[in-house]
């Protein structure tokens, strides 16, 4: 069954995207020189979104959607639009060299206009587990570039794999099991919801 999309009636007015469970690139400190870290599979996105006030009916629709997903059990997708989630960029890039599992850089041909730092891109098929939301960590210009990314790749991807940088989605689960529905303000219908990245 295709991944359900978070109801469009919920319009995000504030987003707090962050990567949690980070794994360092290098040794923990120069003083301790304690061992390097294994390839991380744990770096993942977390997000708190605040939505604009909506009608009571729409708010109940959103609440029903959340309840349908049984807390952290099932996944859904949410479009990450320009403005509160990411800067505006040109669409579409492809991987120009194979990328290994655990990689924190990608070789791509960056489109005209380049990628500003904070650009979000998707790699892989969102309907499968081989999918990730990635952030470009440092600005790059157009052309053949090696871009620094986070989180690290959980899977290897072959050269030629398409990556979306225009219509970008997050693949999420609700962050809490014990909240059957987001808190709805009776007077406005505004709500905020905590998401955590779905990695399967």
């Amino acid at each position: 069954m295709a991944l359900a999309q978070f109801p469009a009636v919920a319009r995000a007015v504030e987003a707090r995207l962050a990567i949690i469970n980070n794994t360092p690139d290098e040794h923990f400190s120069e003083a301790s020189r304690r061992g390097s870290y294994p390839i991380p599979m744990r770096e993942m996105w977390a997000c708190s979104m605040a939505f604009a006030p909506m009608s009571r009916a729409d708010a109940e629709l959103v609440a029903a959607f959340c309840e349908q997903h049984d807390g952290r059990v099932t996944s859904f997708k949410h479009a990450l639009g320009f403005g509160v989630f990411r800067p505006t960029v040109q669409p579409g890039v492809t991987l120009s060299a194979n990328a290994a599992r655990g990689a924190n850089t990608l070789s791509v041909n960056v489109p005209t206009g380049g990628f500003p730092a904070g650009t979000l891109i998707n790699i892989g098929d969102i309907e499968t587990s081989r999918f990730q939301l990635l952030e470009v960590l440092a600005a790059v210009g157009a052309g053949a570039q090696t871009i620094a990314i986070a989180p690290r790749l959980r899977f290897a991807f072959n050269a030629g794999t398409g990556m979306a940088s225009n219509a970008v989605f997050g693949k999420w689960q609700l962050a809490r099991d014990d909240v059957g529905r987001p808190v709805v303000d009776v007077s406005s219908g505004a709500m905020s919801v905590e998401f955590i990245e779905a990695t399967a």
């Binding site: 707090r16 962050a18 923990f28 730092a117 470009v136 620094a148």
Partner: protein
């Protein structure tokens, strides 16, 4: 990534530093668990960042993520109010007038005319990107060559002539934990942000 420059678009509105894990640099009377001289104490603090335009905020979010939690480090600009008092275009740096050993809590500095070092000021001894260290002056003698008592104690020895910076300083810091989320709101700005940091050494 390590030794990242602090993004210019992230304007610091406030910063507060405190020293945690003070050490007397001596073995306890019981003889149990003595620390090596001055290896425990470090600065920790909070940095408040002003709201930014969205693209600056996205870039700042990427900067925080590039640190990958506690593994990365960045060079944090130190607020001007923590600098020595300078008049008449006085220099921003000086040098140690004599060598200081690891574990020492005093430094001797040859100050140029127009520079006054006060208790409460921060100074940087050595190169902060490597083994240099930020210390707070807790008391200071008067004169051209001053003797300043500092905290935390020096972690490494510095030779006579080592660079001492007392204005335009940076400290090598890292995040205390996961990067904080940068809140970006519709309407074209991010929300103010506070970051917990600690000295990276």
């Amino acid at each position: 990534m390590r030794l990242q420059a602090w993004p210019a678009a992230a304007k610091i509105t406030a910063q507060a530093f405190a020293i945690e894990a003070h050490s007397r640099g001596a073995v306890l009377p019981s003889g149990i668990g003595g620390f090596e001289i001055a290896t425990g104490a470090r600065f920790t603090g909070q940095v408040s960042v002003a709201p930014m335009l969205p693209n600056d905020a996205f870039a700042f979010r990427a900067f925080l993520h590039s640190l990958r939690g506690r593994g990365g480090s960045f060079m944090l600009p130190i607020g001007a109010w923590l600098e020595a008092t300078r008049t008449g275009g006085a220099p921003t740096t000086s040098s140690l007038a004599s060598a200081s050993s690891a574990g020492s809590d005093t430094v001797s500095i040859a100050l140029a005319t127009g520079v006054t070092l006060n208790a409460g000021n921060l100074i940087v001894v050595g190169d902060p990107a490597f083994s240099g260290q930020v210390v707070r002056v807790v008391s200071v003698s008067v004169g051209a060559t001053i003797s300043a008592t500092v905290r935390p104690r020096l972690r490494v020895a510095f030779g006579s002539g080592a660079l001492v910076r007392f204005a335009g300083m940076t400290a090598r810091c890292r995040l205390v934990g996961n990067p904080p989320a940068v809140a970006i709101a519709a309407g074209g700005r991010s929300l103010p942000l506070q970051i917990d940091i600690e000295e990276d050494y």
